[in-house]
């Protein structure tokens, strides 16, 4: 039996996160009795903001350290490898997770009608714990720590959704829990196969080239299982069905957090093991990489199936969940494209993927309030509620149209920037695989555009008897404020790209343009 505590290289373990978790929880527990009598959401918001800001500050402080020496620890020779590793990329993605948590707390606070749920003090603690869990998963340097991170991140999410005591909430949490547990089991099984092959759970095994062929097959299978299990949490095909339930059942803040944090963590993991996948996946045949095929097929299926499902939805929030799944499919395609282009296994390729992940979060963040303002403030649940709502609140309806337009990638919106970068990646090297990916991406985008047109038709063609009510709300202000940059983000494509570059410090100085792919080879 392995003594886990003895084999983990504790030198590589950053104490910041468990410490932060402990400090945050103690802080909340100490403060609870003081405010328990009042039961007002403001105090809990304050606590959550304090905890998250503390976390944010600690992450920012880490950026000041010499990242090459102080934070990146050499791989341990121990059987389980070093526990955590921090590099600029996962620092950045971790920072984004904290920002997502802050934004999610803000969204929950702005949702006036849900006092009954936001008053529960656990609500914000769970968000905090979940953020720390996903942050832990991002920084993990071996599969066991990854497993711990996923569990720490996912369990509070389960609990957050379970807080909702109605039928939808119970169904959603059951759905998510059952599938989640199966996927966790798959991850664990994949990890065991990996351990069988390399005798370590570290992401940086000593030797791949000397591993026998049949063992490499098992390792590949193990990695594919881990990937499949982990991709479940980001809502990829075939286990993507929970996302719509969650969007429908839980609070907007939780919905936003569950659509972003697991995705960030999952893609950080993929970015981390890209060199490993390149070596193992490409060792079977020169023609293609096993993982490239996996990502492209999975990406195409996610894009198409999610958008078909979105087309069939009549519930606004479920539609939002499906569209989110479609965008995640786009992220998978970008990884597949990077795998297809041999020269992209450099930092440039990783930076291009990271850029797309950041843009994904940006698109979701800018778009969510636009839809939530209708759902939460105007009580619009089904499409059939839209015409009346549009006549009451044309501005809110307009924000929703822009938000969904952005998620489907209509020109000039933030989603368009995301899709343009993806299209640039996919077309930078044309072969049959990338053509398949382009076709899948195009079909997915077209389907999503139908969804958008349908929504616009419900709002503007079937409704629009102008008898507006001039009432405002904080959510509406936020939605309008975000709708403007969301609608025309592509106008500042270049500064935005440079900003993403600046925040993606992996890119070496001589390759600092984001999707600077090589030209098509001349025969």
């Amino acid at each position: 039996m392995i003594n886990v505590a003895a084999t983990i290289d504790w030198n590589g373990f950053s104490p910041v996160y468990p410490m932060l978790f402990i400090v945050g929880t103690i802080f909340v527990l100490l403060t609870l009795p003081i405010i328990q009598g009042k039961r007002q959401g403001t105090y809990y918001n304050l606590i959550a903001f304090s905890g998250l800001t503390l976390s944010l500050l600690s992450v920012l402080q880490q950026a000041g350290a010499d990242q090459n020496e102080a934070l990146i620890k050499p791989d341990s020779s121990g059987a389980l490898g070093s526990g955590l590793l921090l590099d600029p990329m996962n620092w950045l993605l971790g920072l984004l997770i904290i920002c997502c948590a802050l934004f999610s707390v803000m969204l929950t606070s702005l949702t006036g009608q849900n006092k009954s749920r936001t008053d529960l003090p656990e609500h914000f603690i769970f968000i905090l714990v979940s953020a720390i869990g996903w942050r832990l998963a991002i920084s993990s340097n071996n599969f066991l720590m990854l497993f711990v991170g996923i569990n720490t991140g996912a369990l509070p999410l389960f609990l957050l959704i379970a807080q909702r005591s109605n039928r939808l909430g119970r169904q959603a949490v059951l759905n998510m829990c059952v599938r989640g547990l199966v996927c966790l089991a798959i991850i664990f099984y994949g990890t065991s196969l990996y351990y069988f092959g390399f005798h370590t759970t570290s992401f940086n095994p000593a030797s791949v080239s000397t591993t026998p062929f049949n063992v490499r097959v098992l390792i590949t299978l193990g990695l594919l299982l881990v990937l499949s299990g982990y991709l479940y949490f980001s809502g990829c095909f075939p286990a993507h069905l929970w996302m719509a339930d969650i969007q429908e059942a839980c609070d907007p803040g939780v919905a936003f957090f569950s659509a972003t944090a697991p995705v960030l963590a999952c893609f950080a993991f993929i970015l981390r093991i890209i060199p490993l996948m390149e070596q193992i996946g490409g060792s079977f045949t020169n023609k293609f990489n096993v993982f490239a095929v996996y990502f492209i097929v999975c990406g195409v299926l996610t894009c198409i199936s999610a958008n078909i499902a979105a087309l069939a939805e009549r519930n606004l929030l479920r539609m939002l969940g499906r569209l989110t799944n479609g965008l995640v499919g786009g992220l998978l395609l970008s990884i597949g494209a990077v795998f297809m282009i041999s020269k992209m296994f450099t930092n440039t390729g990783r930076a291009a993927i990271a850029g797309n992940v950041i843009l994904y979060v940006l698109t979701i963040g800018l778009s969510f309030p636009g839809i939530l303002v209708l759902v939460q403030n105007e009580r619009v649940v089904e499409f059939s509620d839209l015409p009346a709502a549009a006549s009451r609140k044309p501005l809110a309806a307009f924000c929703a149209v822009i938000a969904v337009g952005s998620m489907v990638g209509f020109p000039l919106t933030s989603g368009f920037v995301f899709k343009l970068r993806l299209a640039a990646l996919l077309t930078s090297h044309i072969n049959w695989s990338t053509l398949f990916a382009i076709a899948g991406f195009a079909v997915g985008t077209l389907l999503s555009i139908i969804v958008w047109l349908r929504l616009s038709a419900w709002i503007y063609i079937r409704g629009m008897v102008v008898e507006r009510i001039k009432t405002g709300s904080a959510m509406l202000v936020l939605a309008v404020a975000l709708a403007l940059p969301n609608a025309a983000l592509a106008v500042v494509y270049d500064p935005l790209n440079r900003l993403v570059d600046a925040f993606t410090p992996l890119t070496p100085a001589n390759q600092n343009t984001m999707p600077s792919m090589p030209p098509i080879r001349q025969e």
Partner: protein, 523 residues
């Protein structure tokens, strides 16, 4: 030498509809007259700026010389993809811009009876015309794609909100077809950008239409990757993008529905603008940039165009709905345009230029006639009409110009274009002594048959509408109002002017550009 004087006039022209829309949005919704007057002022302003730009243009400068683009404005937008916001003008594009402005102002005047949601109506009309102007003024392929795509949403709104009883599916169909075209155009753009990387003095690639057309190294860049021919792929993608918008037979399915369901003024601008912009793209982008690929599939394109025209003519013959009959007439004309562009000689190019400019005029005349009939009879079923010449002789008089133009009467606008394409096809057949010659003769005969059939069904329709026994309920029909006549009048003037003075008005100013294109095809 680059002429940078007045470089921002085209940007002003493109931005004016956007700025005007904001001003229109601020006007009180109830004051219809004010809104209508402001919209008319806006469209007049656009026409005035275009006329000023035309006066500033040196009409003797050959636009084909890469150093002599006029009124040019060039701002770097997305450096990583080498996308520029680049607009310029030459005699050819200026003619198209004038045509779009005239069409827009006509659509605005023809909308005098729009009372419901007038503000949104005029905003969408302005945005649509601005998008069309932007597409024609653009010198960068990406900017062209962008404006073309931006035109979709206003067009969708105009058909969806102010259309007939089945307006929603018609609008949805149009938007979807247009999006397919746009996406294929975008893919072609990005592939072109990558393919031109490192060629000549474009280390990051280029999408400059003039450079792609004229610079020899760029024209020879088309390498082949194993199993895929990039140039062929780009050609087909571009062709699909343009063909859908132009309504070329086999990609025309959206057109009859939109023409049948849209209101007359919106139909004038949407369909007329689409014909102008996509025709311009056929002349300016597809044929010159991809001349080699066009030449390779020349016979296929001629076959598609001629047999497509025959198919459209047969469909037109079978129609009893006036609007649908008009749409099949337009599809037949699109087939002739495709045939003319595939001929790649002076006759063909001159012919399609005249057809592109004449078709919106005749189409608008038809649409206005159907609008007037529909306004009085509440339907546009030809079989239920008859004897209208007895009660509305003025309608017969005014609409006969459009009708006679459509059947190709010498001296009116369509005759010269049809004649040039037909003579071009027989010229090409005579000058060749291979198998292609036989096929060209067959195509010529088919095209001739299509034109004869078109003439037959148009005259038959005119006979059924205007002559014969009049239904008792039509006796009360009022004669044309002043406004109705005022819309007809400029259309008649244009039909006659383009028929009699086509050399002075169109062919002479653009002759150097057309000669340059023919020289390019010869290379």
């Amino acid at each position: 030498m680059k002429i940078y004087a007045y470089s921002s006039i085209l940007t002003c022209l493109i931005a004016l509809p956007g700025i005007g829309s904001i001003i229109l949005a601020m006007l009180p919704s109830g004051r219809i007259r004010l809104i209508r007057g402001s919209a008319l002022a806006l469209f007049t302003g656009m026409l005035v700026i275009t006329v000023v730009a035309a006066c500033l243009l040196n009409w003797k400068v050959v636009g084909s010389d890469p150093g002599l683009q006029q009124l040019q404005q060039d701002l770097i937008w997305i450096p990583s993809l080498n996308i520029h916001y680049q607009v310029c003008a030459d005699p050819l594009s200026m003619i198209f811009m004038l045509a779009i402005c005239i069409l827009a102002i006509l659509a605005c005047i023809a909308s005098y009876s729009v009372d419901q949601r007038a503000k949104i109506y005029y905003i969408l009309l302005a945005l649509l015309s601005g998008s069309f102007l932007g597409a024609v003024a653009s010198e960068d392929l990406f900017v062209f794609y962008l404006f073309l795509t931006l035109a979709i949403f206003p067009a969708y709104g105009l058909v969806g909100l102010w259309g007939g009883s089945r307006r929603e599916p018609a609008a949805m169909k149009m938007a979807l077809f247009a999006m397919v075209g746009s996406m294929s155009m975008l893919t072609a753009c990005i592939i072109l950008s990558w393919a031109s990387c490192g060629i000549s003095h474009y280390p990051d690639g280029t999408l400059d239409i003039i450079a792609l057309t004229h610079e020899v190294p760029l024209r020879q860049l088309w390498g082949a990757t194993p199993g895929l021919h990039i140039a062929g792929l780009v050609f087909w993608l571009m062709l699909v993008g343009i063909a859908i918008r132009l309504g070329i037979p086999s990609m025309h399915m959206w057109l009859p529905d939109v023409i049948a369901e849209s209101s007359a003024p919106t139909g004038m601008l949407i369909i007329g603008g689409n014909v102008l912009v996509s025709g311009y793209a056929l002349l300016r982008i597809l044929c010159p940039i991809m001349s080699e690929q066009s030449h390779q599939v020349r016979l296929f394109l001629i076959l598609l165009g001629s047999f497509g025209s025959l198919y459209a003519a047969l469909c037109g013959l079978a129609q009893s709905d006036l609007r649908r009959m008009i749409s099949y007439w337009l599809i037949c004309m699109s087939g002739i345009m495709l045939t003319g562009s595939a001929l790649m000689d002076m006759n063909g190019i001159s012919g399609i230029l005249l057809l592109i400019l004449a078709c919106p005029v005749v189409f608008s005349s038809f649409l206005w006639m159907s609008h007037i009939i529909e306004k009085r009879a509440y339907h546009h079923d030809i079989n239920r009409l008859g004897g209208l010449a007895q009660v509305m002789p003025d309608l017969l008089g005014f609409s006969s110009f459009g009708l006679l133009s459509a059947i190709g009467l010498p001296g009116l606008c369509l005759f010269a274009g049809e004649f040039l394409v037909l003579s071009g096809i027989f010229d090409a057949a005579i000058s060749q002594n291979n198998v292609q010659a036989h096929w060209l003769i067959i195509c010529g005969i088919v095209l001739l048959a299509a034109l004869v059939l078109t003439t037959a069904y148009l005259l038959w329709a005119a006979e059924r509408i205007f002559f014969g026994h009049i239904q008792p309920e039509y006796h009360h029909f009022q004669k044309l109002s002043v406004m109705e006549k005022a819309i007809f009048l400029p259309l008649i003037i244009l039909a006659v002017a383009l028929g009699l003075f086509m050399v002075a008005l169109v062919l002479a100013p653009v002759q150097p550009i057309l000669l340059d294109m023919v020289t390019l095809f010869g290379k």
